[in-house]
């Protein structure tokens, strides 16, 4: 097990992502953040906090993608997680999806499907804390906290103080 | 055919050799070696069991049982006499049908089969069947029953009780008030309330028992109450006997062991008429059988083909097979619990039923000169009930998979070995008379 990001580095990475979001979108007027539960939701809140410090408040919500997963049959059924779309919706907005780890890309594909149920954003962007490679779909992130080269047998664990007690990103050897 | 049963254990624990010749016990002693030797290996020898309540289904439902297959099941269960209930197709309500069943039993030659005649024509509860003709037939019917249905009309019941006095007959009543059991599926109580199955109240049985006891007293006739299942019913019979009323009562093995809790998974193998009752009832039945309030055990052996049980509860047939498990179940319920001795078991399962029915060659104590109707029981053996090894044509036993005490090793019918080491011996001659 190796720690690849500590609490300070996570904070700085999220702050940098916040700056990049403002820069890329020329401000925040049209931006909506949607975190993908569980940890993406907390990261979305944290980025929103940075954004409001830098440039003012931004609508932030959550988007559960469980019902759109293509691997449902491979797992026991899991409880649905909250979807909370901010007031004002996503129609015509620049939606930034926030997740902890970008890996195969399947979660993001499901998120795009889930988003399609709710409305038609002007653009959809993706922010992730960690991109570990090994994509199985033509999906890329617009904002990346850290690129971490991994082997496919390794696993990446993101710990956040909101539910794990402290912040860190670790790589574990595969079983 | 001559036999010697070596090393037989008597009820008093004496180990003896028993010589059998000409259908009777010719000698009991030591060091006898006449004819074919059957080594009992210290198994218990008792008079063959007698069942007053057997459904053999022939004629009419030979897909579920025949007189021959039922006789084989009886021999395996240690029975030497069984009584074929009248609810066949056609109903055993004429001399012709009862003679046919009697003859089929003789031909099978594995067990004495005594037909029971219907009380009412077609079991319809409207008018008496030709009771006298059946009594005077070759089958010499003495027990009459509409079993499966209750003789619910009080006047008809009174007439039947009176009429059979001429030939010392007995009416065996299936006590079930029909109006209180419309659509009934199981015992009415906590379990039925949870399962949403229409209840079968104890009072539906007890009301008929009470009425018939009083009728029997009034007309001075013999009454036999089939398959008692409720604590209240036991109390009523106890009351009747204390008044000197000529009533006998019967309990099935399954009602001594199983309760309505078993219905909870809706498996129709537990669907039976009368229904399984509560723990309290089971305890009262055991006590009643032990103290003699209940005179006999009757199997209510009720074979049904797979398709009549392989369905939802409501559509399933009522009934359980029981001949091959009866002895073991009674041992489990009564002897292992120390409520009853083997002597009393022999009384309840052989001597008393033979006496009630007048089966002269059965239910005689094992003694020189007695008819050689015998069962030899390994009382220390245990066995697991397996549907697939039942001799009965139907497999609807509620005891499948249960470990049972006591196993029937050999059965002698009128001096012939019909069950040897647990296997049916094919018939040697034309049966007995």
């Amino acid at each position: 097990m190796a720690t690849v990001l500590d609490a300070g580095e996570i904070g700085r990475a999220l702050k940098r992502i916040a700056h990049e979001i403002i820069e890329h979108n020329h401000g925040l007027e049209n931006v909506v953040l949607l975190g993908i539960p569980t940890r993406g939701a907390f990261l979305g809140e944290r980025i929103a906090d940075f954004l409001s410090e830098i440039a003012g408040p931004v609508p932030v919500g959550t988007l559960d993608i469980t019902l759109h997963r293509d691997d449902l049959r491979l797992r026991p059924p899991r409880p649905l997680l909250p979807t909370n779309i901010p007031m004002g919706g996503i129609e015509g907005k620049d939606v930034v999806l926030v997740d902890d780890v970008l890996f195969s890309g399947r979660t993001i594909r499901a998120a795009l499907d889930a988003l399609g149920e709710i409305g038609r954003p002007r653009t959809v962007q993706l922010a992730v804390l960690v991109d570990r490679g090994h994509r199985e779909l033509p999906i890329r992130a617009d904002y990346v906290g850290k690129n971490i080269p991994t082997s496919s047998t390794e696993s990446v664990r993101v710990h956040l103080s909101e539910i794990d007690g402290s912040d860190s990103v670790e790589i574990m050897a595969g079983a | 055919m001559k036999y010697t049963i070596k090393n037989a254990r008597m009820l008093d624990d004496a180990i003896v050799d028993i010589e059998i010749a000409n259908g009777v016990i010719a000698n009991i002693g030591k060091e006898i070696s006449a004819g074919e030797i059957v080594d009992a290996q210290k198994s218990l020898v008792i008079p063959g069991l007698v069942d007053l309540h057997t459904h053999l289904r022939e004629p009419g439902r030979e897909d579920s049982e025949t007189v021959a297959t039922g006789s084989a099941a009886a021999a395996k269960g240690g029975f030497t006499a069984i009584s074929a209930m009248a609810n066949t197709f056609p109903v055993a309500d004429t001399a012709g049908v009862v003679e046919q069943v009697f003859r089929l039993g003789q031909e099978a030659g594995l067990c004495d089969v005594f037909p029971i005649g219907a009380v009412t024509a077609g079991l319809e509860g409207k008018k008496l069947a030709e009771l006298g003709a059946m009594a005077n037939s070759k089958a010499q019917v003495r027990i009459f029953s509409d079993d499966g249905k209750c003789v619910s009309d009080p006047l008809l019941m009174r007439r039947a009780l009176e009429y059979v006095k001429t030939f010392n007959g007995i009416i065996a009543q299936h006590a079930q008030e029909p109006a209180l059991t419309v659509g009934s599926q199981m015992n009415e109580g906590l379990v039925s309330s949870k399962l949403g199955l229409t209840g079968w109240p104890a009072v539906a049985e007890e009301a008929i028992i009470a009425r018939d006891i009083l009728l029997a007293e009034h007309v001075g006739s013999r009454l036999h109450i089939c398959h008692l299942t409720t604590a209240g019913g036991v109390d009523l019979v106890r009351f009747a006997k204390s008044r000197g009323i000529n009533v006998t009562a019967e309990v099935t093995p399954h009602h001594l062991l199983l309760t309505d809790e078993l219905v909870s998974n809706y498996d129709p193998v537990f669907k039976v008429n009368p229904p399984l009752r509560t723990e309290k009832d089971v305890m009262a039945l055991r006590k009643g059988l032990a103290d003699g309030t209940i005179d006999i055990v009757g199997t209510d052996h009720a074979p049904h083909p797979t398709e009549d049980k392989d369905c939802e509860w409501q559509s399933a047939a009522f009934g359980m097979v029981g001949l091959e498990t009866a002895l073991s179940v009674v041992v489990k319920a009564m002897i292992e619990t120390e409520l009853m001795s083997w002597e009393t078991l022999v009384e309840r399962m052989s001597i008393a039923p033979a006496k009630i029915a007048g089966y002269a060659k059965h239910g005689q104590i094992v003694a020189k000169g007695s008819p050689a109707n015998l069962a030899i029981i390994d009382t220390s053996a245990t066995w697991i009930v397996d549907r697939n090894t039942l001799a009965s044509k139907s497999k609807n036993t509620p005891f499948a998979g249960m470990t049972m005490p006591a196993q029937v090793r050999h059965t002698f019918l009128n001096g012939d070995l019909v069950l040897k080491n647990g296997q049916i011996v094919s018939k040697m001659n034309g049966g007995s008379n």
């Binding site: 049959r73 491979l74 | 599926q185 399962l195 949403g196 229409t198 809706y266 392989d310 939802e312 409501q314």
Partner: protein, 317 residues
């Protein structure tokens, strides 16, 4: 709930709450124009109805379709299916067709359990009402409706007072609701003439009252059950008028309820018999919400039963 939903007894309190939570999440997605969710694409749900119940069948059908399952409606009423052996034959046919779930409505108590236990079929079995036994999804949708009207109730129904009124003896809705609501902590009073209360009720975890007026005074929920006039023919009560006077929710009784009390009915209602038109249409009545919530709750149940593999280990990352 492992594989089947045959009875409320198949659910723990937390599993029941999870179904309600899932239904809540689904309700957010369903607000506005509802598109199909892809969740159960490629799965086959068979509605096997041995009794007519258009509303229950439509509710299950639309729940399954919203999750993109293929739906086959098999109405066995009026066909040759009347005896049990045919239940077996029908089940084996459905098995051969590759059903993943069978939603069964049957007139015989225990039919759903027989279907699940018999080995005739490997599909998940959902009990959509079996005889006078249970109707577990009705109880779940009732609990969901109650929770939506009492926002303080979240993970339990502690302190909630529920009066269930009517033909308890023959009601599968009552049985499932008694089990579920008491499991969740509600205090239940059954109200009916003694003829319509099961003999075994003394061992249930409920109070029993023969007096509707006093029983509903403090109730938070008044659940009226459908009364069938055939019960009158069997002398469970003397006349419809007498039943209605004693056990109908008329305007006077409606007015005696607390402001916050809600009135429920599983439908279809006999207006003027167990419930007056004023009560059925009052602002206290949540009957229509019960209907619309039925789809959400049945989606949640289908998702719980079919929305995953019965694997134990973790798969993938």
């Amino acid at each position: 709930m492992e594989k089947h939903l045959l009875s409320i007894n198949d659910l723990s309190a937390s599993e029941a709450i999870q179904i309600l939570n899932t239904a809540s999440e689904l309700s957010k997605i369903s607000d506005g124009p509802m598109k199909k969710l892809p969740t159960l694409r490629g799965r086959t749900v068979v509605n096997l109805f041995f009794e007519d119940s258009t509303r229950t069948r439509i509710s299950f059908e639309s729940a399954a379709k919203r999750l993109s399952a293929d739906v086959i409606n098999f109405s066995a009423k009026g066909s040759s299916v009347s005896k049990g052996e045919s239940l077996k034959d029908t089940a084996q046919t459905l098995q051969a067709m590759g059903a993943d779930a069978v939603v069964i409505r049957h007139g015989a108590s225990g039919a759903a359990q027989r279907l699940a236990d018999s080995g005739w079929i490997s599909a998940s079995v959902i009990n959509a009402g079996d005889g006078t036994h249970e109707h577990p999804t009705q109880a779940l949708l009732d609990a969901y409706t109650i929770r939506s009207k009492f926002p303080d109730l979240k993970d339990n129904f502690n302190g909630l007072k529920v009066a269930i009124v009517g033909d308890i003896l023959h009601s599968r809705v009552a049985r499932s609701n008694v089990l579920l609501l008491s499991k969740l902590g509600a205090k239940i009073t059954l109200v009916a003439p003694p003829t319509l209360i099961p003999v075994g009720v003394t061992d249930w975890d409920v109070d029993v009252s023969y007096d509707l007026d006093s029983a509903i005074l403090n109730a938070d929920v008044v659940m009226m059950l459908r009364i069938q006039s055939e019960r009158m023919a069997a002398s469970f009560f003397p006349s419809e008028r007498e039943y209605s006077r004693g056990y109908g929710l008329d305007l006077a009784r409606l007015n005696s309820l607390k402001d916050s009390t809600i009135v429920m009915h599983p439908g279809p209602m006999n207006r003027g018999l167990e419930i007056s038109a004023e009560s059925a249409d009052s602002h206290k009545s949540v009957v229509l919400a019960q209907v619309s919530n039925g789809v959400l709750v049945r989606m949640a149940v289908l998702y719980q039963l079919l929305g995953g593999a019965a694997l134990t280990g973790e798969v993938g990352a």
